[in-house]
């Protein structure tokens, strides 16, 4: 679905990513974890064309229109109604206003926001706004969904509910996902595969972990699975090495992982 080959990218003179390669097959839920500032978000921004890479190739098996992007901030238009915000991606691709609004209402209903269409984003709570952003992202039926720390700003309970809802749709529609997060638990509970990035500059992926837990997943049950604990430990020590010990040690861990798998 998504093929990234030797991606290089920087901000001005400052290098960020170096020779980063990543394969995400169709239907996989992949996570990118790594130390703060390593360039996790830049990978996603490069995929959707918000950041021009210096070198390397990014290939998608789907049209750019089939890619959804859920930002950390809800980034809703404050001056437009909730309904218009959700309908916006559909309107941009040329759907008639009426049908776009109808679909928007449907997605608001699915996100538990019946009757909120006429409100403005500022009149909603943080959790509600996140649901609106989710409805907005899912309404165009993306095949590939990129998410950049989407739930970081939510409190624990709201976060779990919204994540539950999201996971249900991802599993139902078999959406391919790349999630950027610094929350290792979140990465493990949601993903099929977790990729660990090295600290920047010149960051790349140093280790990848398979998460062989069954689907559909229940967020609580998943955490109590004994395999979850082992994986969490591995991932945690991998991250600690990346942060403290430079990339070589982590790369060794990665190789061990690969050969063990």
């Amino acid at each position: 679905m998504l093929h990234i080959d030797r991606l290089q990218l920087g901000y001005g003179q400052a290098p960020v990513l170096h020779d980063l390669s990543l394969q995400v097959p169709e239907g996989q839920f992949a996570s990118l974890v790594g130390p703060s500032g390593c360039g996790k978000s830049s990978v996603l921004r490069a995929v959707v064309g918000l950041h021009e890479p210096d070198d390397g190739a990014i290939e998608l098996d789907v049209d750019g229109r089939d890619v959804g992007f859920l930002f950390q901030d809800d980034a809703l238009l404050p001056w437009r109604s909730v309904r218009h915000n959700v309908a916006l991606p559909l309107l941009i691709r040329g759907e008639a206003k009426r049908s776009a609004y109808e679909q928007a209402e449907l997605w608001l209903e699915r996100m538990g926001l019946v009757g909120f269409g006429d409100r403005f984003p500022q009149q909603l709570s943080g959790g509600q706004r996140k649901r609106v952003a989710l409805a907005q992202t899912l309404a165009p039926r993306p095949r590939l969904l990129l998410m950049d720390e989407p739930f970081a700003s939510l409190d624990a309970i709201v976060r779990r509910r919204v994540t539950d809802d999201l996971l249900a749709w991802v599993e139902r529609d078999d959406i391919t996902v790349v999630l950027v997060t610094h929350d290792l638990e979140e990465a493990l509970t949601l993903s099929d595969r977790v990729h660990l990035m090295s600290a920047g500059p010149y960051a790349d992926i140093v280790a990848s972990y398979e998460v062989p837990l069954p689907r559909p997943r229940d967020l609580v049950a998943t955490r109590t699975d004994p395999r979850f604990g082992r994986l969490f430990e591995q991932l945690w020590s991998g991250l600690a090495e990346v942060v403290d010990g430079g990339t070589d040690a982590a790369a060794d861990t990665a190789r061990e992982q690969e050969s063990a798998a």
């Binding site: 921004r45 959707v48 064309g49 918000l50 750019g64 229109r65 890619v67 992007f69 930002f71 901030d73 980034a75 238009l77 404050p78 001056w79 437009r80 916006l88 991606p89 941009i92 691709r93 209903e109 699915r110 996100m111 538990g112 926001l113 009757g115 909120f116 403005f120 984003p121 500022q122 009149q123 909603l124 709570s125 959790g127 509600q128 649901r131 165009p140 309970i157 709201v158 509910r161 539950d164 809802d165 249900a168 749709w169 139902r172």
Partner: protein, 290 residues
């Protein structure tokens, strides 16, 4: 569509209004009750303010009649009222009102248009900003009414020099509002539209125009005040008509009652315009209310 998603009751929607209705019988204030109390408080505030103004006017009148203040220079509310009534009764005031309104409203409209156009272009194109910004900063740093004599030399003592001064005052204000508005535009909103495949046209329609409209409306009251200042100061400097002209005339005659009458008129007009812009603002900027 039979996932847990669609059937599950949403958690965080309780903030909605319906809750208030079910608690009407409890001590919790309902939506309509709280609206009533807000209304009552507003009426109360209005009554107290009216009383305060009335008291002030009564004191002024009494002081003037008792000779505590000089009735000639300080005038009195009754004298001012008489002058006002006289101005409207014989109709002499109308051409002056017309002149000042024409100048300020025309200057306001042209100033808003110029400010929006220049601000937008500067906000979107860096080289233009580099060219315009120093000029605008200079113009905003100096009291722009100092250009009045120059404008009268160039455009004559007629209405156009007053329009020009009102325009100058308003345009610089609106320029900075719009220019700043575009620079402050949330980059995340732009990114979001881009990821949906939206181009410049969509960005203009969904992001820039609403952002600019918000900025302009947010500054509309100040702009109205500026426009009147420009028109009246222009009339002070040289003119044959207008409320500013009348003010200068009243001053030259040491006619304090007429000065007060004209001040009252201008205050009333500006307050009316404020109320009007307030309505426009509230309607257009509904999204700001939480």
């Amino acid at each position: 569509m039979t996932t847990s998603t669609s059937t599950q009751p949403p958690v965080d929607v309780q903030a909605g209004a319906p809750i208030a209705r079910t608690t009407r019988h409890v001590a919790v204030p309902t939506a309509s009750a709280s609206r009533r109390s807000v209304w009552r408080r507003r009426v109360g505030v209005g009554a107290r303010r009216t009383a305060a103004i009335g008291l002030l006017l009564a004191a002024w009148e009494a002081a003037s009649r008792a000779g505590v203040v000089d009735p000639f220079t300080a005038s009195s509310p009754s004298a001012v009222g008489e002058v006002l009534a006289g101005l409207f009764a014989d109709g002499t005031i109308w051409p002056h009102i017309e002149a000042t309104f024409t100048a300020s409203l025309l200057g306001l409209a042209l100033g808003i248009v110029a400010g929006v156009v220049l601000g937008t272009v500067a906000g979107l194109f860096r080289p233009v900003a580099e060219l315009l910004e120093p000029v605008m900063v200079l113009l905003s740093a100096v009291p722009r009414v100092i250009f009045a004599p120059l404008l009268i030399i160039w455009l004559g003592i007629g209405v156009s020099s007053k329009v020009a001064l009102a325009f100058l005052l308003v345009a610089v204000l609106v320029f900075f509002a719009v220019y700043g508005g575009i620079q402050d535009t949330d980059a995340r909103l732009i990114d979001r539209i881009r990821t949906f495949g939206g181009g410049t046209r969509v960005l203009l329609r969904e992001v820039y125009v609403p952002a600019i409209t918000g900025r302009v409306l947010g500054n509309l009251k100040i702009a109205v005040g500026f426009a009147f200042t420009g028109a009246v100061v222009g009339e002070f400097v040289a003119s044959a008509r207008g409320l500013g002209y009348l003010l200068m005339f009243a001053q030259s005659q040491y006619n304090a009652a007429l000065v007060f009458a004209l001040i009252t008129l201008i205050v009333v007009f500006v307050l009316l315009l404020f109320a009007l812009t307030g309505v426009v603002e509230r309607r257009a900027l509904r999204w700001r209310t939480r």
